[in-house]
């Protein structure tokens, strides 16, 4: 501190490089050098090994006949199709379980999370037990457990019928369904379009209300655009919406929608497991809203539904959305456990391909590409949503 304080003797720096820039450069060159060296070493080994095994690298094998059976698929497939198509079918199967899983897990998780905060002691304790049990047991174990239960169900002839038209047997879950074709898709398309238009109108209405403070109801537009217009389209096109009821004929079911045991077990395992984590996120989100916000909303005499929708939820969502994104990503990545019970998702198809052709690098690269794409899409969407609901400081 004082001017005549003796200067400490200069310390010898690491490798006497002294200047920070030089030192930084040295470390970077060292680390990058090591990384490049390791990759080059692995690469040269791989090339040698592949040529020794007479495996040609490249994606040419995708055009060859796959010859692998895929029992349960959304898209039409037979073993004589190409590997490329098998991969597409696998990706569709992954998406089928991931998308439906995310929707169901969100609904179930939110219900459990709210139950955990219920004034009813019994309900909140039950929700707590649900969360603790499911969180502390490995997902793979739960999946195997559900699959074993599924296989222990009675045969199709003696299927359980919890509700009329719904059958639960070792063939899976069979539900009544509406046959879906292009005409039905047209009607659905109109409804989606209507929803988009309604969204724009609602924003405009809110902007108007911001200007003069008079509330303008949005529901007539919703009714018109999302219900009336599609209904009119349906009438004009004469689309049939009759429900097809499954029937037992011989040893199997005819008609309706069949969820194969593998798919159903995977879906249950993913949904219940993830819902336990989502429940905790929802609970902490709601608890993060300060008590004063509830008090203030009550003091303003707001209706309960309005209060939840306009005051509490927007604040809770800010806390909820970021961790929710990682749960969605987890669910999608966990869907790859399908391989353990023989549901053919993309990882399972890649694994079979790898065993049949030996194209290990390409198969793993495809898995990585698919999951990175899905992860990035989910992150992108959730970041957009998060930015939309984030706190706007005025």
């Amino acid at each position: 501190m004082t001017a005549d304080h003796p200067r400490p003797p200069p310390r010898r720096r690491f490798l006497a490089l002294g200047r920070n820039e030089l030192k930084g450069l040295f470390w970077q060159v060292l680390v990058v050098g090591i990384a490049v060296g390791v990759v080059a070493f692995l690469w040269s080994n791989t090339v040698t090994n592949l040529s020794a095994r007479r495996i040609t690298t490249g994606f040419a094998f995708l055009g060859r006949e796959a010859g692998m059976p895929i029992a349960d698929s959304l898209l039409a497939y037979n073993p004589r199709d190409t590997y490329l198509w098998a991969f597409v079918v696998g990706i569709a199967n992954t998406l089928r379980v991931a998308v439906i899983g995310i929707v169901l897990a969100t609904i179930l998780g939110t219900l459990v999370g709210i139950s955990r905060l219920s004034a009813n002691w019994l309900l909140s304790r039950l929700a707590a037990v649900y969360v603790e049990t499911l969180r502390d047991i490995p997902l793979l174990l739960q999946l195997l457990f559900w699959y074993v239960l599924m296989q222990a169900l009675p045969a199709a002839r003696a299927a359980w019928r919890p509700v009329e038209g719904v059958f639960l047997s070792n063939r899976g879950l069979i539900l009544p369904a509406i046959p879906f074709g292009p005409p039905q898709l047209w009607v659905l398309g109109t409804a989606v379009l209507g929803l988009a238009v309604f969204y724009v109108i609602r924003r405009w209405l809110i902007a108007q209300q911001m200007r003069d403070g008079r509330p303008r109801p949005a529901w007539p537009f919703a009714l018109g655009l999302v219900v009336a217009v599609p209904a009119a389209v349906s009438l004009v096109l004469g689309v049939s919406w009759t429900i097809e009821w499954p029937e037992l004929r011989g040893f199997n079911f005819v008609g309706g929608l069949t969820l194969a045991p593998e798919y159903f077990a995977l879906l249950i395992a993913l949904v219940t497991y993830t819902s336990a984590f989502i429940a905790e996120i929802v609970r902490s989100g709601i608890q993060s809203v300060p008590r004063g916000q509830w008090d203030a909303a009550n003091a303003l005499g707001l209706r309960r539904s309005f209060m939840l929708r306009q005051i509490i939820l927007p604040q809770a969502l800010r806390v909820i959305v970021p961790p929710m994104t990682s749960q969605y990503l987890n669910l999608t990545k966990n869907s790859s456990l399908a391989v353990a019970i023989g549901y053919q998702d993309v990882v399972s198809v890649a694994n079979t391909t790898l065993n049949q052709t030996g194209q290990a690098i390409e198969a793993i690269a495809l898995i990585m590409a698919v999951f990175l794409t899905i992860s990035l899409s989910i992150s992108f969407f959730m970041n957009w949503y998060n930015a939309r609901i984030a706190l706007v400081e005025r």
Partner: protein, 368 residues
């Protein structure tokens, strides 16, 4: 159903005059505060009673607890009506220790106890000192000696014969012991001012976190031999262990990075002002504070990670879940897999529940 306790219009029993029987009062506030709430309570009670009744009937009243060795006829007689817990005494040695030589199974059993003691000591805050690192190194060395043998008159047991609970604990513990330092290095790399190191760290973390662990394990089991010079091969367990270390490193790096961000700038500047080198600054000033900040999320990562070791089932390594699945291949006992899964689930639950309790107690007691 969706009445929420933490809000002002929830029942305010505390403000009401405190009269009458306390039990009745508790029932009234917590179970029958309103008519819908009362109905909900009754419905839940009925469902709960039904569930408990059928479980007791299946799991206790009609269950078979013991049978003569390798004879499942008593179990098959009550199939569908009662549980066959007799499969547990029949198979527990295989489920817990796999194909480890039967007469030597006290060694993996002792290793499991050592692991548990190590975990317990690591939770004691009084022991959070440098000596803990030595303790870990010592304990892990001792466990290796016990499992492998070949010295001190213990017969050598190759690692293809290891199985069950010790393998699960080895995968998880060694994964953490090596993944943690790796995670610290990568977290520091990600916050480094040097662009090449930063981008390498980002690439590593994002690639590993972007793909499922299953595909990493496939890579370890199928591609690893391709990567290595011809003739050089390492054991399958070790390959899976490497995949798990790399996986853990990426996830732990992200948690530790969160802790690094929480350390105030002034701490870095003060360390620089003292003329500490980069490594001394981080070792003495920054990291102790950063890690203290993120202990609860770290424990949660450990839990997730402990459960994830079960995925090695997919590449055929004999961890606890795989031995359980293998135990019920035996045709005589094939139909009683549910009982075995419940038994194994209970083991996993005990470990994870203990960790999650511990994490929660840290959240409330950690001095900020």
């Amino acid at each position: 159903m969706t009445a929420i306790t933490d809000i002002p219009d929830a029942p305010r029993a505390a403000r009401r005059p405190q009269i009458g029987n306390p039990v009745l009062r508790w029932l009234r506030t917590n179970l029958f505060s309103s008519i819908p709430n009362g109905i909900l309570t009754v419905v839940l009670l009925a469902l709960l009673a039904k569930g408990i009744f059928s479980f007791v009937q299946w799991g206790i009243a009609n269950a078979v607890w013991l049978t003569p060795a390798n004879d499942s006829s008593a179990c098959r007689a009550v199939r569908g009506l009662g549980a066959c817990w007799a499969i547990i005494p029949e198979k527990y040695r295989f489920i817990l220790f796999g194909t480890y030589p039967f007469d030597e199974q006290w060694r993996p059993a002792l290793a499991v106890l050592l692991f548990i003691a190590l975990y317990y000591l690591s939770t004691r805050r009084a022991l959070w000192r440098r000596e803990l690192v030595y303790l870990w190194i010592g304990a892990l060395a001792l466990i290796s000696v016990l499992m492998w043998g070949g010295v001190f008159g213990l017969s050598f047991v190759s690692q293809d014969r290891w199985g069950g609970l010790p393998v699960t604990l080895i995968l998880a513990t060694f994964g953490l012991a090596f993944g943690f330092p790796l995670g610290i290095l990568v977290a520091l790399g990600r916050r480094s001012k040097l662009p090449a190191i930063r981008s390498l760290s980002v690439l590593y973390v994002e690639l590993i976190r972007g793909v499922p662990l299953v595909s990493l394990l496939f890579m370890a089991s199928v591609m690893f031999p391709l990567f290595m010079p011809a003739g050089f091969n390492i054991d399958k367990l070790l390959r899976a262990q490497i995949a798990i270390i790399l996986f853990a490193g990426a996830y732990l790096a992200e948690v530790i990075r969160g802790g690094l961000q929480a350390v105030p700038r002034g701490q870095y500047e003060a360390a620089d002002a003292l003329g500490l080198s980069y490594w001394r600054k981080h070792r003495l000033i920054v990291l102790p504070q950063a890690i203290r900040h993120v202990i609860p999320p770290l424990v949660n990562t450990f839990i997730a990670f402990f459960k994830d070791t079960s995925l090695v089932l997919i590449i055929g390594i004999f961890d606890l879940l795989t031995t359980a699945k293998t135990a019920i291949i035996d045709p005589a006992w094939q139909q009683f897999s549910v009982e075995v899964y419940i038994f194994v689930a209970a083991i996993y639950f005990v470990f994870c529940f203990a960790m999650s309790r511990y994490s929660r107690s840290l959240e409330t007691t950690t001095p900020k």
